[in-house]
Amino acid sequence: MTATANGGGDPLLSVQDLTVAFNTSSGTVKAVNGISFDVRRGDVLAIVGESGSGKSVSSLALMGLLPSSATIGGQALWKGRDLLSLRDRDMRSLRGREIAMIFQDPLSALNPVHRVGRQVGEVLRIHEGLSGRAARRRAVELLDLVGIPQPERRVNNYPHEFSGGMRQRVMIAMAIACKPDLVIADEPTTALDVTVQAQVLEVLTSIKDEIDSAIILITHDLGVVAGMADSVLVMYAGRQVERGTTDQVFYETAHPYTEGLLASLPRMDSDGAVELVPIPGSPPSLQRIPTGCAFNPRCRYVQDECRSDIPELRWISSAHHQAACHFADELSLAGARA
């Protein structure tokens, strides 16, 4: 698992110090504050955080899908080109072809008035210049690939005639139609029933191997992360607080926020004796981020230093593992219960 996570080779996507700020009537809001990560072919990188931590905004910034009120800084090298400074038209030809995106709610992300086959085929007609007939044939194959039964019948259905899980499979089919190098999945299972979540993730994983792409998985669900991701980036209030391989983050947890997230995660194998521990308080408003470490008002290990100085990401003993906590080396945190 760790082999692919940080294996050699140039990264497909290398994000350096990404910042996103929104100009609002009540001042500038920094939604993303200096995050960096690399994604290599075959990697699954999970970006984890609560609502408002900036994880979705980061991905939309990479795709160039933020409204013009957003100011984006930093660099995102994609095969040597900076995504953040690409012209509109170059960005458009990348989207859907090299980088594709899967959205949270598959009902609202599919166009209600078009048949599913047409929607899947349209991607191919636009990016690969397929004829209507060839696109349709590919659409049937793609629906089959993502595990939709009777695909040759189902292409003629409208989105509302599908169940939630089936709709998300359709979204996945659209996203992978052009065999993109990177799939960004923004909370792909959040809107689905628990029983369907695992199926959809399995489709996603097997598709990834099939087309040899990388995945950025944006989620707040650590269970999803554990099942799929090679490496993890934990975000809090727009900043990165911990990153490393999934094993490192789960079992050698180095940031109190990550510890809190893991402690609030229910476990199937516990006999009910282990209580869930919520993180006290709630995430800060991005307009009033606490001074010092953004997590300090909710942190049980808080010291004076945490209230005054913003902690830098620092290396933890093992390679690839970093955390932004003044006391990362000193604290002995409980990770996931192995």
């Binding site: 989207r95 594709a100 992300a109 349209e122 991607v123 039964p149």
Partner: protein
């Protein structure tokens, strides 16, 4: 290249009923509305009459028969009677259908296209363009409709074509506003975001992805604007600023014969009734479409 796929889910076990498509469902709903069906039948009848006008009518609508003046309805071949110079009123009314439907359909079609284009661009792009367009619409809507139309006719010159163009130019404001409002709402939907994430061009997103979702109110409003245009043309012609004689406009016929209302009421009654029934038919159809196309109103 097949994958080790998942076991078929419960979805597969269900046999899929053939769900009726949107349009057949809408048609079933529409048929329940008697007024709407009556209106539609009436309009179809009008279209047939307009197409076959030369076959149906016996007399030329311009022909002057000094022998057969002032005849009341059902006088021999003159089913609707004649006027004070001997014009056959039936011929005038039947050829008048052509004028009214031409005005109604042309104005509705082109003002809807114009309004939809401008409203879509305004709503989708927003910003300065939106502000300028919408202030322009506000400004035009602040001027009484008839005055604005008369002003355009003043520039364009009189006649049927001038009337049609003037009514198109004054007919797109409300459509543009309605379409803009729908686009403002729909462009925030996730499927638009998804379409952008797939790298589709702006025009494709606007016209292939958003517009089909906005078609229902546009169709309804276009139908109602047929009625509005027919009424407006009749009014303009009545006021002698519309089409020019001898074009057989119903409004013109009412105007020419209004002095004879006491002695020969049928000369006003027939063209007036034709305007009334035609406008009513389009309004009924519009209402029927509104109910049939709006899923929320379906019982």
């Amino acid at each position: 290249m097949s994958l080790p796929l998942l076991p078929a889910t419960s979805d597969a076990a269900l046999t899929l009923p053939d769900v009726p498509g949107f349009w057949s469902d809408a048609w079933r709903q529409y048929r329940r509305n008697r007024l709407a069906v009556t209106g539609l039948v009436f309009i179809v009848l009008l279209i047939i009459l307009a197409i076959f006008a030369p076959v149906i009518t016996i007399y030329d609508y311009e022909a002057i028969n000094t022998d057969d003046r002032n005849l009341s309805p059902l006088s021999g071949d003159h089913w609707f009677g004649t006027d004070n110079v001997g014009h056959d009123v039936f011929s005038q009314i039947v050829y008048g259908i052509r004028v009214s439907l031409l005005v109604g359909f042309m104005v509705a079609l082109f003002s809807t296209i114009l309004g939809t284009l401008l409203g879509a661009v305004s709503g989708y792009f927003g910003g300065t363009l939106d502000s300028v367009l919408m202030r322009l619409v506000d400004m035009f809507l602040a001027i009484p409709y008839i005055i604005l139309t008369v002003a355009f006719i003043g520039v364009l010159g009189r006649g049927l074509n001038a009337v049609i163009i003037a009514l198109i130019l004054t007919g797109w404001f409300v459509t543009a506003r309605v379409v803009r409002a729908i686009f403002l709402q729909l462009k925030e939907q996730e499927f638009v975001q998804a379409a952008r994430a797939l790298g589709y061009s702006r025009s494709r997103i606007m016209f292939r992805h958003i517009l089909p979702n906005a078609l229902q109110p546009i169709i309804v409003y276009a139908t109602l604007s047929v009625a509005g245009a027919i009424l407006a043309e009749a009014a303009l012609s009545f006021l002698a600023i519309g089409v020019l004689p001898p074009t057989p406009s119903w409004g013109l016929l009412v105007a020419e014969n209004k002095g004879l209302l006491a002695t020969l009421p049928h000369l006003v009654f027939f063209p007036g009734g034709a305007i009334f029934l035609t406008v009513l038919a389009f309004v009924f159809v519009g209402d029927g479409l509104r109910d049939a196309l709006d899923p929320r109103l379906r019982g």
